[in-house]
Symmetry: C2
Subunit: 130 residues, 2 copies
């Protein structure tokens, strides 16, 4: 089992952040961690917005957030505590995280179905077959 690796602040890229937060499950997890401002273990997200997330997938999502530089993860006994790295990121990319979280919460309020691309490849093909 290799150690949890975190990029140093200089290695955190905008593209990496956007990629990590372009997934509805990950952005939900991250928003939650930011909002609570306290440590979360991973399994508190085994269901996200009424959808069950398999453990292995969840683990990958946490790794994605971690390696994008968005969260700090620390093993404490049998579980892992996760905190947001907002303060650091704010110094480097002021306003970025706030704007994304804010937009995400607006979208939730609007009740928009949060899906990755606005038009998925599968949907395009379905439309084409009609």
């Amino acid at each position: 089992m290799r150690p949890l690796l975190h990029p140093s602040i200089e290695d955190i890229t905008v593209e990496g952040i956007l990629h990590a937060l372009s997934d509805p499950v990950r952005v939900a997890i991250f928003s939650n961690i930011v909002a609570q401002d306290c440590s979360h273990n991973c399994s508190s997200f085994l269901t996200v917005r009424d959808k069950a997330i398999p453990k292995s997938t969840l683990s990958q999502h946490f790794r994605a957030l971690r390696e994008a530089g968005l969260i700090h993860s620390e093993r404490r006994g049998v579980e892992v505590y996760n905190t947001a790295r907002c303060a650091e990121i704010e110094l480097r990319y002021p306003g970025l995280i706030r704007a994304i979280i804010n937009a995400h919460s607006i979208q939730s309020k609007l009740g928009a179905k949060a899906r990755k691309p606005t038009v998925k490849k599968a949907d395009r093909q379905k439309a084409a077959n009609k």
Copy 2:
């Protein structure tokens, strides 16, 4: 040849925007379109930051930006004119586009190598093989 399709403003999602702008080529193209505030045809981006982009790939990138709701594309004669949909997006998700463009320009100034995930899967495997 099917028509260029644009999502209506209600169908533009935060995840879609972040996904589209999580690619270094696309974010460079989009920043440029936003900065110039005038129409661009696609081929003006056949090289992006000294890297040649194949025509077919470029076409897909424009489609990604278009279907995420970031740009409006209009055929005019033999070419396509692209404009940013910032004003609309600003109404729905205030500050989002500005923050992303701003962060991107900070990153450019810092000279960080812009790559998608901070740690790519391929890089992880390369590191593991050492």
